[in-house]
Structure formats: structure tokens, C-alpha cells
């Protein structure tokens, strides 16, 4: 549990370190170190299948080629099941991806400390290292990050209807009220169905509301218990979200049964079935672009950051994937060394697979990919970042949060009751 406390210090200056403090070293591609791994094999287990797998392999290609490493990659959406069996059966993969820091805690005693693996620690700010550490040992290399506080919309649709992008909270409300008054298409597409994980997009949304209504410190306090889950401000945030679903999001029934993927597409259908969708950065690159191949980013689809009360920039909500090593082999060292190097950062940025937390990245590394470049700029403009609370909670509580918000939206319980229940579990988990 101590790790969760460390996370409270989430006020790390990723934006500054990540983008403005560009090291000149990054320009000169450092040579790939192989640590004598030539001719060996490495097994990697991740959640990335399909096109994501291809992208990941493309990022790794230079090191695999230079060191003649044979990659044995398995991508599966059943990562939990497969990883669990293999780790408990004492045949873990060399490297595994962890979709959130919580997973690192589960396998902490089996993971190799990154300090022993020739990782370029200097390329990661302390905040990211803390997130990837359990009991003070750095075991999770932050590999990919995505920004979450975004609202996707169609600039052309806005122009045609005479709407402008809101810059303050009040303008946002006014815009949505205007949209409701103008027609029968709801302002927000709020569907959040996602099978067993139904609720995660709702909790992301609520966190962005809380950052703007209760403040970032109170929001981060939910992770370690300094803010009670049944605090009136949190209850108000949940209630506000539920009321938005009713008033601006087409109603609770539709929100619960429409998959989050379908929900992303609704504002971009022709004719549109909603005006906006609040969703992470992947929405544009992984959903809108491939489903509407002839749409142009910046015209047919774009994003703005959910505005704050006074329009000032507020901390950006981010999520992140980590990778951990179960074995210390030369090939593992070569791969982690490469991924954490400036060259690895550049390759990840160029792949367009969300953003890289590696601070050796240069702004122009995203140059070929306008969506990634704009996301990186939005991250740079934020004064701070705050990690997805659901991903930091002790095991099971993230799921309890998903289930709680789903039940509140569905009307089978009240926000106050659901949050009191989560608080009770939280107290138990923290051993307070």
C-alpha cells in the first residue's frame, strides 16, 4: 500500500520535463546496446493485438535487427488470465505489458528491478518513476501514455451550426443548453458500455469533472484516502455526471447499453447523432480516423480540452501503460535499454501509438502525425498532470468504482450510497 501513498505526489512536472526541456542528446541517435544478446530469444506478452501489435513490433524492429534478437510476442485481450497462469506456474514471459500501475503491485515480488536492467533512468521524471515503483523499487517502465481530458467534435459541424468551442465551464454548459434547444441530437455522446469493464469511461469523465469542480488535490486524495469517497464534493461530482447523462447525453439507458466505441463514432456519423464526445486521445486515431478514412483531422474531427471554470489551464488527466521484466537476460536489457533511450522515444513518437512518457522525446518527433503532435502540445500546455484515479486504486477498487458509477447512472442506487460503499471498501483496503 505504501506505493499508493507515493502516488499522491502526482504533481510531477511531466509537461515541462517532457516537452520543453528537450535534451540535445536526443538529436544524436545513441547507438543501440546489445549487452551480448545476439542470437537470443525474448518472449513478450502484451494486450496489443492486431494493428497495435504491428505498431509495437515496428517500434522494436531496430533493436531486434541490430542485436539479432528473435521476438516471440503474444498479444491478447485476456492478459490477466494468461499472465496470471504463467506467473503462478513459474514460467512468466520475459517482458509483460501492464495496462495500469495496479497490475505492477500484484506481480511486484516477481518483477526485476529496472535499476538492474540498464534502463536509461535519466529519461524519466520522478513522477513516472514513482508510478512504476512498488515499495520504492522501480519495476514498471512507463511505455505509453494518453491524455484523457479531451472533447472530440467536428469543427465543420460546429461551423455549419454556428457553434464555437467553449473556453470556460459556463460556456460549455451554455453551448450544451443551446444544442438541446436547437434540435434533437444530444450534445454529448455518453455511451460507456465495455463488457466486464463497463463504467471506465464514465469514471474518467467524472475525474475530469472533479478536477474542475473539487480541485486537483481533492481528486488525487481519493487514491490514498485523504479525500473520503463520500465527501460531499465527490458526491456532487457523481450526481452532476448522472445529470449530464440525463440532460445532455441522451439518457441513462442509452449510455449504459451503447458501447464506448460506438459512442465515439456518433458525432462523426453522417448525419451526426451527437455533437461531442468526451474521450481520451486514442478516440481520434484509433476510432474516428480508421472508420472514416476520408475525414481530415482538424476539419472533420478535432479535439479541445474540457474547459475549466475560469478558462485557465488545469492539470491534464493521463493514463499510462507500463512494461515489466520477469527475467534478467541480455535480450531484456537490450530491449528495455532501447525503449528507454532517446532513439526509442523517437520511434515510439513516430509510430503514432499515443504518446511516450520518455522525456528524451523531441517535439518534432511527432511531426508526421498531426493528432499526436496536437496531443503532445495539449499536454505541454497543461500546468500539471494527474493520473487516472481508477488505475491507481488498490486491487478491485477500480472495478468497484466502475460498477458504482454504472449503478448510479442506471438509477439502481444513489451517488451517496454507492460512494459510501466504495469508501467502506477503501477503508478496509487501506487497513484504516
Amino acid at each position: 500500500m505504501t506505493k499508493r501513498l507515493v502516488v499522491l505526489v502526482l504533481v510531477f512536472a511531466l509537461s515541462a520535463a517532457g516537452l520543453s526541456a528537450v535534451s540535445p542528446r536526443a538529436a544524436a541517435q545513441d547507438a543501440i546496446e546489445c549487452y551480448g544478446s545476439e542470437g537470443s530469444e525474448v518472449s513478450v506478452l502484451s494486450v496489443w493485438a492486431g494493428e497495435e501489435e504491428n505498431t509495437f513490433k515496428a517500434v522494436l524492429a531496430p533493436v531486434l535487427e541490430a542485436c539479432e534478437i528473435t521476438l516471440n510476442h503474444e498479444g491478447t485481450r485476456d492478459l490477466n488470465t494468461v499472465l496470471d497462469s504463467r506467473v503462478q506456474g513459474n514460467q512468466p514471459p520475459d517482458i509483460a505489458s501492464m495496462p495500469n500501475p495496479g497490475a505492477l503491485t500484484v506481480y511486484a515480488d516477481k518483477l526485476v528491478s529496472l535499476d538492474e536492467l540498464n534502463v536509461h533512468a535519466e529519461n524519466y521524471v520522478q513522477g513516472w518513476k514513482d508510478l512504476g515503483s512498488v515499495d520504492g523499487v522501480w519495476v514498471g517502465l512507463p511505455i505509453k501514455t494518453d491524455i484523457k481530458s479531451l472533447v472530440w467534435y467536428s469543427p465543420l459541424a460546429f461551423e455549419a451550426a454556428g457553434y464555437t468551442v467553449p473556453t470556460t465551464w459556463d460556456e460549455m454548459i451554455a453551448l450544451m443548453d443551446q444544442m438541446v434547444a436547437d434540435g434533437d441530437v444530444p450534445p454529448l455522446s455518453m455511451g460507456f458500455e465495455s463488457g466486464g469493464a463497463t463504467g471506465w469511461t464514465a469514471t474518467d469523465f467524472v475525474q475530469d469533472i472533479l478536477i474542475r469542480t473539487a480541485g486537483v488535490e481533492a481528486t488525487n486524495g481519493l487514491v490514498d484516502g485523504t479525500t473520503a469517497w463520500d465527501d460531499p464534493a465527490v458526491v456532487a461530482g457523481w450526481e452532476l455526471y448522472a445529470s449530464w447523462v440525463e440532460n445532455y447525453g441522451g439518457g441513462a439507458d442509452a449510455a449504459i447499453t451503447t458501447s464506448f466505441g460506438d459512442a465515439i463514432l456518433l458525432p462523426f456519423q453522417d448525419p451526426p447523432a451527437a455533437w461531442m464526445v468526451k474521450q481520451s486521445g486514442f478516440a481520434g486515431s484509433a476510432f474516428v480516423a480508421p472508420n472514416f478514412p476520408d475525414y481530415i483531422y482538424g476539419e472533420d474531427f478535432a479535439f479541445f480540452v474540457l474547459p475549466s471554470a475560469d478558462g485557465a489551464a488545469v492539470p491534464m488527466q493521463v493514463g499510462g501503460d507500463f512494461i515489466g521484466a520477469f527475467n534478467n537476460t541480455p535480450a531484456v536489457q537490450a530491449i528495455l535499454g532501447y525503449l528507454s533511450s532517446a532513439a526509442g522515444a523517437a520511434a515510439w513518437a513516430a509510430s503514432g501509438f499515443d504518446l511516450t512518457p520518455n522525456s528524451a522525446v523531441t517535439p518534432d518527433a511527432y511531426g508526421d502525425n498531426p493528432i499526436s503532435a496536437d496531443k503532445a502540445a495539449a499536454l505541454g500546455a497543461a500546468p500539471d498532470v494527474t493520473f487516472d484515479v481508477g488505475d491507481l486504486l488498490p486491487a478491485g477498487l477500480g472495478q468497484a468504482e466502475f460498477d458504482g458509477i454504472t449503478a448510479v447512472v442506471g438509477g439502481s442506487t444513489t451517488a451517496a450510497d454507492a460512494l459510501a460503499d466504495i469508501q467502506a471498501r477503501m477503508t478496509e483496503a487501506l487497513g484504516m
Binding site: W48, T76, D78, Q88, G89, G261, P290, N291, D294
Partner: protein, 401 residues
């Protein structure tokens, strides 16, 4: 003669309710599958936008909306405004969606708003105008109603989020992992073809082995005496409930010690062990139902247990064996979890490869539906093949009627 005809007619009429019932129930059963089948043959965008039953709707664009809103200025031939010639494909091809058309209405042309706010077409008319312009100007060809691209993508394992294998080959040409020769790509080592072979390699032994072992055990339960028969039989019933997930970790540990992880043998044994409780249960109930006289007379003729088992019991149990084979084969064929954990990508089976077509965010319904049909074909064929053994009259002549 007349009477025969009348009787036949009556029997046909009597059978009408039967046919109505069978065909009606079949229709209800097939309707959801039909939706899946049609979806699997539709282009990606159409799947996202409209229901499968709308494939029958006319796609012919109508000019009514164009005439209402546009003819006055742009003329019936679309080319009355020379600077914006709506009959030219390069002008119209820029209008990729109705929003692009709608924004032009706000803008001013020659000092006047293109279309005053209160006279603008609604969403539906806008769509109609755009479709009309796109087809008339030749900016796009009529999108096909049906396509085999989903199946082609699945067969060659093309998994990029947008586009199709054909498009990629046309626009980018061959790459190191893609020759763009369809059959070559479909049969290369990491394509679906190999997955089908691996699935057979897993499924066939995993079907034969449990049925064979269950046959022996069921014979003992039905025709032999031993201590603890009833208790063990009750256990067999109970063991069927054990959830698969609870057995994964201990078995994986055992395999790690024995070096069986990643081997076909490990998967065969797992499926056999896990399939046995049900197989023995079903076989014992069938075999025990066989008439006692047959077995007794065979034994009186001097046959031993082994001979009775081979020559009498097994052939008579053919319908039960056929039914078991169908289900055991199908379960193993459709299994993803066991293959994922014990084989992984060492010998990727079909379900594993199909799951790879869906990325972690779950995109790609159009391909998923095609994949579902490809993977369904083999179990269905097995069903058709084996149900021939559900033949009447195996016991005829062996008992006095």
C-alpha cells in the same frame, strides 16, 4: 387408384402443420445468424451506419432535394455556376460528408449568404443532395452493397484498422510480410490456413482420446462390478461442474515441471482430462441402456470382456459416440482460453488468430463477423458428417419387437 390418390392427399394435408412448425421454428432460429451472415458481406462503413436488413433498400440517389434547394442557381445540369461546377468530379469529391456541404451555406458568395438560414435543407435533404451530386458528377462510384473483402482480410490476416487488403495492395503494393498474391498470402505460415491446420492438430486427438478412454470407463461402470461404483459415478456427475479457470494454474505448474507447456501433448491431455467426466457420464448412460440379452448371449458364445467391448458395445454405442464427437470436437475447436495459455503463439490455433484481428480497444466488427463464419464452417461440417450415424435400426433384429 382414386382412393390411393385421396389418401396421399389427406396425408399431405395432415402434414402441413408439421411443416409449418418445423420451417417456422427454423426461421426464428436462423434470423439472428442471417443478420451476422449478411453483415459479414457488407463494407465496413455500411456496417457502422445501417442495419443489415437495409441492404435491400434502394440506393439510387434522388434529385428531389437538389431541385428544391439548388436548381435555381446551379441549374438542372449542375453546371450553371462556372466557378463551382457541381458536375465536375474534382469539385464534388471534396465534399466527403454532409457537414462539408453545410458549412458552405453560411459562407458569403458575391456579397450574399449562400443560403439564408431559414431556407437551409435539413439533415435528410442534405444527405440526399450530397448523394445525388456525388453520383451524378462521377466523384464516387455507387458503393457496393456486398463485398468479400472482410473474408479476404481475415484469410490473409490483414488487421489494419481502416481499409482493406485489396486497397492496401493497390495503394502500397507488396511489403516484406505481404506478397499481394492472395493465395500465397493466405497460405503463408502465419496466416489463417496455418491456424486451421493447428486447430485440427489440437482438435482431432482431443476428440478421439477422451471418447476412447471414456468408452473403457463407461463399460466398467455399466457392465463390471467393482467397489465404489456408485460413489465414483456420483463424483463424475459432480466433477462436470468444476470451472475451467480453477484448473489452469495447478495444471500449468505441473506442465512447467514436466516441460509440457507449449506442446500439443499438453493441450490434448488437458482437453481429455477436462472432457472425461461428461464423456464417461453420457457413454455410461447409453451403454447401460443397451439390452442385457445381447451382451449375455455374446458371452455365452464364449466372448471375453475385451471382445464384447470391441465387437458389440462400441458399434452399438455409435450414436452416442457420434454425438459426443460432435460436441467434444466443437468445444475444443472453439476454445480460446486453453489454447492461449498452454500453446500461445507457439502453434497459433484458429481462435487465437481470429482474436488477433480484434485490437485491445475492440475494433473491427465487419471482420469479426466474417471470422465467426469461417470458424463455424468446420464444426458445422463435422455435425453434418457425424449425424449420419444417428441411424435408426442399429438394434433392430437384436431384440424381439
Amino acid at each position: 387408384m382414386n382412393r390411393v390418390l385421396r389418401e396421399r392427399l389427406i396425408s399431405i394435408i395432415n402434414r402441413i402443420p408439421l411443416h409449418v412448425a418445423v420451417i417456422g421454428l427454423c426461421l426464428i432460429w436462423i434470423l439472428p445468424t442471417l443478420g451476422l451472415l449478411i453483415t459479414s458481406f457488407r463494407p465496413q462503413q455500411a456496417v457502422n451506419e445501417t442495419g443489415w436488413w437495409e441492404v435491400v433498400k434502394s440506393q439510387e440517389p434522388t434529385s428531389t432535394a437538389y431541385q428544391t434547394y439548388c436548381t435555381d442557381c446551379h441549374g438542372a445540369n449542375l453546371s450553371a455556376v462556372p466557378s463551382i461546377d457541381l458536375g465536375a468530379s474534382d469539385v464534388v469529391s471534396g465534399f466527403t460528408n454532409t457537414r462539408r456541404l453545410a458549412v458552405t451555406f453560411n459562407r458569403e458568395y458575391n456579397g450574399a449568404v449562400h443560403i439564408p438560414e431559414d431556407q437551409r435543407p435539413d439533415d435528410e435533404s442534405l444527405r440526399e443532395i450530397l448523394d445525388y451530386l456525388r453520383i451524378e458528377s462521377g466523384a464516387i462510384k455507387m458503393p457496393p452493397r456486398f463485398t468479400v473483402n472482410n473474408y479476404k482480410d481475415v484469410m490473409v490476416g490483414y488487421d489494419a484498422r481502416g481499409g482493406t487488403y485489396d486497397q492496401a495492395c493497390e495503394e502500397e503494393g507488396p511489403t516484406p510480410t505481404r506478397s499481394c498474391d492472395f493465395w500465397e498470402d493466405a497460405t503463408r505460415s502465419d496466416a489463417i490456413f496455418k491456424g486451421v491446420l493447428n486447430s485440427f492438430a489440437v482438435s482431432i486427438p482431443s476428440t478421439i482420446l477422451p471418447i476412447l478412454l471414456a468408452g473403457f470407463a463407461a463399460y466398467a461402470f455399466a457392465w463390471l462390478d467393482f467397489r465404489g461404483r456408485k460413489v465414483m459415478f456420483a463424483l463424475l456427475v459432480g466433477l462436470q461442474i468444476v470451472p475451467l479457470q480453477m484448473t489452469l494454474v495447478p495444471v500449468f505448474r505441473l506442465y512447467a515441471d514436466l516441460g509440457l507447456n507449449g506442446s500439443f501433448l499438453g493441450v490434448w491431455l488437458f482437453h481429455t482430462g477436462f472432457g472425461l467426466p461428461y464423456a464417461i457420464y453420457l457413454m455410461r448412460n447409453f451403454i447401460a441402456g443397451l439390452p442385457r440379452e445381447i451382451v449375455e448371449s455374446a458371452y455365452l458364445d464364449g466372448a471375453g470382456h475385451w471382445r464384447v467391448f470391441r465387437v458389440i458395445i462400441m458399434p452399438l454405442a455409435l450414436p452416442a459416440i457420434a454425438a459426443l464427437s460432435i460436441f467434444q470436437f466443437m468445444w475444443v475447436w472453439n476454445d480460446l482460453l486453453v489454447a492461449l495459455i498452454f500453446l500461445g503463439n507457439k502453434a497459433p490455433v484458429l481462435t487465437y488468430q481470429l482474436s488477433q484481428l480484434m485490437d485491445s480497444l475492440g475494433g473491427g466488427w465487419h471482420r469479426m463477423t466474417a471470422a465467426a463464419f469461417i470458424s463455424m464452417a468446420i464444426p458445422l461440417a463435422v455435425f453434418l458428417l457425424f449425424q449420419r450415424y444417428f441411424v435408426r435400426g442399429l438394434l433392430s433384429g437384436s431384440v424381439k419387437g
